[in-house]
Every structure is written in structure tokens, then in C-alpha cells.
């Protein structure tokens, strides 16, 4: 099963995923023309600030299974695409009751008119996994835009294994005093982020 996996320690808060998502879900698909479209296209990924300054996390639909939003949707507008294993919304069936938003564990549902104007009224909008791109064997727009590998598209178990191997290396090198494997965060980025933690600690006393 392929997914967009998040490495939170990598996110530097540039929000380029939001921009790429918005363009991808615009009528024109063009970054300049998208700015002038009506209704305005909307991002389905949201980079939220973390607990201390200089930390952040990209929040998007995790395409849960079973999906709470799908379970509570009274009109059956939310369904699962069997081929790509993605949770999708049929906008025409959506009655904007917001039940999906109430039960979503990640608060990723937003309500806007769709960029293609079908239908023109406000409906529930969320990540569609860039299903058209994935069908073309391309990665989702957010993962493509992310140059720091905070968002990575791939087989879920492969991506989990990368982290597990890294963890294991770190633990084993600690007990055997071997040189640790490359840390996920280089020293200069860690120094940059340390200021944010320090500034936050000072503010919070």
C-alpha cells in the first residue's frame, strides 16, 4: 500500500506542499493562473506550527481504513477507491453537514466550493491522494514539492522500515560505542532549531 509518509523532524515549515497542493487542485493547474481563479483553489494539506518555534507538521488526510468520516457520512458521499486504496468524496452527494469533520482524528476536512465549480455550492474538501497523478505513476504534488523529505511517497512498510533501521543503528551504536549512523538532522539544522526551543523556553519561563 502506497502512502505519503511524514518525517516530522524534517519539516522546516516552508509550506511549499500547500502551494503545490493548491495548484494541483486548481482548475487550470497553472501556478500563476491559479491565483486568479474563481472560486479560488484550496490546499488540502495544512502545515501546522509545532509546540516550540521553528517546528512544524504537515497535516493531511491519512486515508484511514476503516475511515471514520466514511462511516458517519449520511449520504454515502465518502467512499473508498479500491484500486488506489484512497478515501474520496463525491462532491455531488455531499450535503455539507460536517459530520466527517467532527469525527476526523486529524481535522483535515475543510468546506469550500470546488475549484472546478462542480457543484458550485460549498462542499467538504480534503486530500484525494492526487489519484490522477498516482494513476499516471507520478507521486502526489505535496511529496514532489517537498525538497527536504518531510513528505515521502512510497510503500508504507518500506518507509516505516527506513525509520526502524535508523532507530536500531542509533541504539546499537550507543550500546557498542560505534560511530552512530547519520542522524536524521544535521548539526547546523539542529543549531538552527535549538534557538527556537530556547526562545520558546524563555517565553514560557
Amino acid at each position: 500500500m502506497k502512502t505519503v509518509f511524514v518525517n516530522p523532524e524534517r519539516c522546516i515549515g516552508c509550506r511549499q506542499c500547500e502551494f503545490a497542493c493548491t495548484v494541483e487542485h486548481s482548475k487550470s493547474g497553472d501556478p500563476v493562473a491559479a491565483l486568479f481563479e474563481e472560486p479560488p483553489p484550496r490546499s488540502r494539506i495544512h502545515v501546522a506550527p509545532g509546540a516550540s518555534q521553528l517546528s512544524s507538521f504537515p497535516v493531511k488526510c491519512r486515508h484511514c481504513n476503516p475511515a471514520p468520516c466514511q462511516q458517519v457520512c449520511p449520504t454515502g458521499a465518502i467512499f473508498r477507491d479500491a484500486e488506489q486504496d484512497l478515501v474520496l468524496i463525491d462532491a455531488k452527494k455531499c450535503i455539507t453537514c460536517a459530520m466527517c469533520a467532527m469525527v476526523c482524528p486529524f481535522d483535515v476536512l475543510t468546506f469550500h466550493p470546488q475549484a472546478n465549480g462542480m457543484p458550485t455550492r460549498t462542499v467538504a474538501i480534503k486530500c484525494d491522494g492526487c489519484i490522477e497523478r498516482v494513476r499516471r505513476d507520478e507521486q502526489p504534488a505535496c511529496a514532489e514539492a517537498c525538497k527536504v523529505d518531510a513528505l515521502v511517497f512510497g510503500e508504507l512498510n518500506d518507509l516505516v522500515r527506513v525509520g526502524r533501521v535508523r532507530e536500531a543503528h542509533a541504539v546499537l551504536s550507543a550500546v557498542s560505542a560505534l560511530e552512530p549512523a547519520a542522524l536524521p538532522v544535521p548539526d547546523h539544522v539542529e543549531a538552527w532549531r535549538a534557538w527556537g526551543r530556547s526562545a520558546t523556553a524563555v517565553r514560557e519561563g
Partner: protein, 630 residues
């Protein structure tokens, strides 16, 4: 607007907290709301590894090392970070130097007798400056001398010289070091233009070379543009002498027409002070039901006026929206720099008339009254009249003035400090040698909403004076320390025993107000005078600089010229350089071997105080003076 942040965490000040609470109650957006709305802020930009200098880009470097490591042109993180820092410094140095030029141009017109509302108030300083610049003074009228001095200073802005006029103030060891490094500033405008040239794609592709020009550009500000601004302001408006004043939002009076003077340049505000005393305008205010016309300062225009006239100070950078929220401000007169575009939005929620005055700094939503030095006093009166008229629109039910003012002292120019010492730096040098005063630190710079307002300034200063370190302050830091009650002679009680004794003997506060942010040059002049007196280089002295809450491009230029002049500097907010290990290493480590000083970054003022104390004691040890382990 989400308000999940505790107001107490945003500012240490009672007046600020009260007004932030009011803003929240009434749905008025302030700087803290906008900072929250901007979270998270882009890490590429915050680390300095994004570049939009050309149309092959924009580009960014993955600081984690796996994504792109070069821009389209081939620039790596080192080159991009250095270029970005260079442009930041060029912008900051240009701001100060353009301010200096504006003062110089009015000074030149004054010398030609073409201005209204200006005079040469300090003829002694004019003659002393002329002497420094090699201009004959014997038997000549002040206006003649001024004409020649203005012409000579204008040459410093151009390209016809190999070194600035004020370089004569710099100790010879430092001049030699600059010459060896090729960073002697040649022309004020020239270094800025050259920086823009160098940072164009395909010019200076060596980060070390770019960073050296960063220092040269900043020196053209510190020993050039800013110094011209300070020195000529003294000649035209008077050299500051110790003067009592008051500070915080309590400076506004419920029964008076309140006019705030905000920005940086004293050219207009000085004539407004004259205009506000005009009997006709005072009478007009009384017919409107006011007791009189009350002028208050904000930011560095406020500092210029407080230093010379004791004008009460409403607040520093982060108070500019909050002063409007009192509902008691009738007019905010702005010149330029650090004036948030947001002030006109906040002003719309009240009756306040925002009046812009500089043709290079207009604000949508403000009334623009173009400043012309030839009609200075006339324009000053027109502006004050508008403030009086706006008072008629004030709703007394919406007035909230949150606190009583705090007493502070201002006016410690180099001349005033030397005066307090009996005309020579000898007593200060003796106190340092004896260890009563361990050293001196300039705590300067802005406010930044990323830091609890004034906490960085006040806590760092407190820790330094407690440890017998004399503190000199300018800009927002002076206002913060004034509000904290650390700038009265009685604050000597807060100081360590040695500093306390010296302050009490001289009747001075342990924290001395040296002026606005262009007046950081006063600190350079004092440091140079001390070094020359001892026959050493500035970098050998037990001195340091700190900018605990800086935000502006000007502050980066100041930090760079202070370090390039040989003074270790601790920044409370990190500059956008952490995307390049090499740039960080050069600025925070290797620079010490090159210019005898370096930068440090430390958000916590308690820890910053320790860094500075260690540095000062190390410098004492190197000079063969008694030293302490910190």
C-alpha cells in the same frame, strides 16, 4: 483570530499587556496575531538558503543534504547565505545612510540660509567637526564653516575617496587591520551599490569574499552614514546633555491633545516641537476643550527628542499599535523606518489621524503632508493644527491610559559622558583598571514579537549591571530599560558594589541612554576614544555589544559594524545564516582571528549575560588586569 497565547508571555510591561487585552476584546489585530498567523514560517528563508536573485530561480538548498544542494546557477548554501546576508546588510546600511544624507542635505541648505525652523545650535561642535575634517575655522562665520563641512561630507557619499572622513577617529591598529583585509570603507553609497553588484548572479561567488564586503558595507554605515546623521543632528538640534524624562503609555494625557512623533529622523519632529509651542495653536487646543498640546515620542524619533529635550516617551517598536489602542492619541506623525503598515489599520478603529511626512515613505490610509525644510516651521504648524482638529473627534468614553509613567534620564552623548567624568576618559579608565567597573556593554536594537517584549533588554541589562558592568543603551533597548526603572541614578542600587560606587559618586544611572539607533555611532566614538587613550586597539578592551530583540535589516548592519570595529556581539534572535555551516563558523568563530571580534547567538538573556561576562573577564586578563572566573 486565535488567542491561545497568554498575554503575560507577550510583554513584560503592564501598559502593553493592558492594551493587548483591549485589542483582543475589541477584535483589533496586532503584531502578535500576525506572527501567530504566519506560523510556521519558512525554514529555507529562516536558514538563509532560499535565493530569488534571478529568474533561473527561485532556488533553495535542502539543509538536510539529500535534496538539491545547488541553485540553478550552481551557487551552494555558502554562496546563497552569504549573498542574502550581504543584501540584508546593504539594505540596513542604506537605510541609515539615506537618513544621514537627508540630515546632511538640510544642513547644507541651512548653511545657504534657505531653511525655516533650523539653526546651528551647537557652534562648538560645528567647529570641532570642521577641525576633524581639515576645514578652516579661524575668523570664519558658522555658516561659512557649515557650507564647507557639508560639501566635504557629501564627498563621503560618492566614489572619489579611498577612505571616509570619520576614519580619523579610528585607532591606527584598527585602520591597519581594515587595510590588510581590504575592508576600509571608501564611500557610503559606493559600498552598498557594490554589494548589490557582487550579489548579482555570477559576480562574487566566494562566500568569504562576500562576507568581507558585508563588513566593509556595514563600516560605511557605522563610520559613515550613521555617524554623519548623529554628528550633524547634534550641530543642528543640540548635543544631548543629561535630561530628566518619563516613559510608557502614561505619557499620554487624557485632558490634552496628544501627538506622537514616530520614526527615526529628527528633521521634522524638531520643528513640530517648536510648532506645538505656538501660542495660537495652544489657544486653538484650549478652545477645543483641551488643556494643551502634549507631544510624545515613539521609537527613535522619540529617542532623538528625548535625548535633546526630555520629551516624554510613549514606547518602543512593539508599542506603536498599542499607543493607538489607548484611544487617546489624536495624531501619529511618522517619518520613516520601523513604522508598521498596520498603524493605519489600527488607527481606523479610533479617531487618530496618521500623518506621513516623507515623500519616500507613504502609507495607504494616512494623510500625507510633504516635508520641505524651506517651509519647515509652517509645515510643522499645519501638522500640529491637524492634531488639534482630530482631538475634536476623540471619544472620551473610549480613552484607556493604562499606567503611570516611570522616570528616566536621557542625554548621555559622548560629550556629556566625558563631561560627567571631568572632561577626560581617565576616571572611567581608572575604574575599569581598578576592577570597580569590569567593562562596558552596549545593549541595543529593536523589539521582535518572537521574544517577550523587553524581557531580553531588561534581563540582560540587569544581570550585567549586577555584575559591575556599565551598560549603554540606544533605540528600543533604551526605552525598555527606562520602563524597567533602570535608568535613574537611584538604579545604582541595583548595580554591583563597584559600579554602584562609581555611579553614586558621579550621580549617573548604571544604564546610560546614548540615543537613537543611528547614535550607536556614539558608542563607537566612545570605544575608539578609550582605545586611543590607552594606546590599544578597540578589540583589546573589555567591551561587548548585544541586540537581544533585534528584528530589522538596520540591526544586522549595526551588528556587523560593531564586530568589524572589534567588539564581540551577542544576538538574541538568530540571523538567517544557519543553512551554511561555513558562514556560521566564520561569523561565530573565525572572525575573531580576522577582526578581533565575533558574533554569538543566544535567545536566553541569562545565558547571554554569562557569555558576555566571560568575554569581558578574558579581555581583562589579556590586558593584564585583575580578572574573575565566570
Amino acid at each position: 483570530m486565535a488567542h491561545d497565547t497568554d498575554i503575560n508571555g507577550l510583554s513584560i510591561n503592564k501598559d502593553a499587556r493592558a492594551m493587548i487585552a483591549r485589542a483582543r476584546d475589541e477584535g483589533v489585530e496586532t503584531v502578535w496575531d500576525r506572527l501567530a498567523a504566519q506560523q510556521p514560517q519558512c525554514g529555507y528563508c529562516a536558514m538563509g538558503v532560499s535565493c530569488r536573485n534571478c529568474a533561473m530561480g527561485p532556488c533553495r538548498i535542502d539543509p538536510f543534504g539529500e535534496g538539491p544542494q545547488k541553485g540553478v546557477c550552481g551557487a551552494d548554501a555558502d554562496v546563497i547565505v552569504a549573498r542574502n546576508l550581504g543584501r540584508t546588510i546593504a539594505a540596513g546600511a542604506s537605510a541609515h545612510s539615506d537618513h544621514g544624507r537627508d540630515i546632511l542635505e538640510v544642513f547644507a541648505e541651512l548653511a545657504e540660509g534657505k531653511t525655516s525652523g533650523y539653526e546651528i545650535r551647537d557652534k562648538d561642535k560645528l567647529r570641532a567637526l570642521a577641525g576633524e575634517w581639515g576645514i578652516a575655522t579661524e575668523g570664519r562665520e558658522a555658516f561659512e564653516i557649515a557650507r564647507d563641512l557639508a560639501a566635504a561630507m557629501m564627498e563621503d557619499f560618492g566614489t572619489r575617496k579611498s577612505s571616509l572622513g570619520f576614519a580619523a577617529r579610528v585607532p591606527s591598529q584598527r585602520i591597519e587591520r581594515w587595510a590588510e583585509l581590504g575592508i576600509t570603507p571608501r564611500g557610503i553609497d559606493r559600498e552598498n551599490v557594490e554589494m548589490l553588484h557582487r550579489t548579482h548572479m555570477g559576480v562574487d561567488n566566494d562566500y568569504v569574499n562576500t562576507l568581507l564586503h558585508c563588513l566593509r558595507t556595514s563600516l560605511s554605515d557605522g563610520w559613515g552614514g550613521s555617524m554623519v546623521a548623529t554628528e550633524l543632528s547634534d550641530v543642528m538640534f543640540g548635543t544631548p546633555k543629561p535630561v530628566p524624562s518619563r516613559v510608557n503609555l502614561g505619557a499620554l494625557r487624557p485632558e490634552s491633545v496628544n501627538i506622537a512623533l514616530h520614526g527615526h529622523n529628527p528633521l521634522l519632529s524638531d520643528v513640530i516641537v517648536q510648532a506645538a509651542a505656538d501660542p495660537e495653536l495652544v489657544q486653538l487646543a484650549k478652545t477645543k476643550g483641551a488643556e494643551g498640546i502634549n507631544l510624545v515620542g515613539l521609537c527613535c524619533t522619540g529617542n532623538e527628542l528625548q535625548m535633546r529635550k526630555g520629551l516624554p516617551m510613549a514606547g518602543n517598536h512593539l508599542m506603536q499599535e498599542l499607543v493607538l489602542l489607548t484611544g487617546a492619541l489624536d495624531a501619529m506623525v511618522v517619518d520613516y523606518q520601523c513604522i508598521m503598515p498596520a498603524v493605519t489599520d489600527v488607527a481606523k478603529c479610533f479617531h487618530t489621524d496618521v500623518i506621513s511626512t516623507a515623500d519616500k515613505a507613504k502609507f495607504t490610509g494616512a494623510t500625507h503632508i510633504s516635508f520641505d525644510p524651506r517651509r519647515g516651521l509652517e509645515i510643522g504648524k499645519e501638522i500640529v493644527r491637524r492634531g488639534v482638529e482630530a482631538y475634536g473627534n476623540r471619544n472620551p468614553d473610549r480613552v484607556r491610559i493604562p499606567d503611570e509613567t516611570v522616570e528616566m534620564m536621557a542625554g548621555f552623548s559622548v560629550e556629556a559622558i566625558l563631561g560627567a567624568l571631568g572632561g577626560t576618559p581617565e576616571p572611567l579608565v581608572d575604574a575599569i583598571k581598578a576592577g570597580k567597573i569590569r567593562g562596558a556593554v552596549g545593549v541595543v536594537g529593536c523589539n521582535n514579537p518572537k521574544i517577550q517584549q523587553d524581557y531580553g533588554h531588561v534581563m540582560l541589562t540587569r544581570r550585567l549591571i549586577e555584575n559591575d558592568i556599565l551598560v549603554v543603551v540606544t533605540g528600543c533597548s533604551a526605552i525598555a530599560n527606562g520602563k524597567a526603572g533602570q535608568m535613574m541614578p537611584k538604579a545604582a542600587e541595583m548595580a554591583g558594589p563597584g559600579l554602584r560606587e562609581v555611579c553614586q559618586a558621579l550621580g549617573i544611572p548604571p544604564v546610560l541612554h546614548m540615543g537613537s539607533c543611528v547614535d550607536n555611532t556614539r558608542i563607537l566614538v566612545l570605544a575608539a576614544a578609550l582605545a586611543k587613550h590607552l594606546g590599544v586597539d578597540i578589540c583589546q578592551l573589555p567591551l561587548a555589544g548585544a541586540a537581544p530583540e533585534w528584528y530589522s535589516e538596520k540591526a544586522v548592519s549595526i551588528g556587523a559594524y560593531v564586530v568589524a570595529s572589534g567588539i564581540y556581539t551577542v544576538l538574541g534572535v538568530q540571523p538567517p545564516i544557519f543553512g551554511s555551516r561555513n558562514v556560521v563558523k566564520l561569523l561565530a568563530q573565525d572572525l575573531d582571528d580576522v577582526v578581533g571580534a565575533k558574533f554569538a547567538v543566544e535567545a536566553d538573556p541569562e545565558r547571554a549575560a554569562l557569555l558576555i561576562r566571560r568575554h569581558i573577564e578574558a579581555k581583562r586578563k589579556a590586558l593584564g588586569l585583575e580578572f574573575r572566573d565566570v
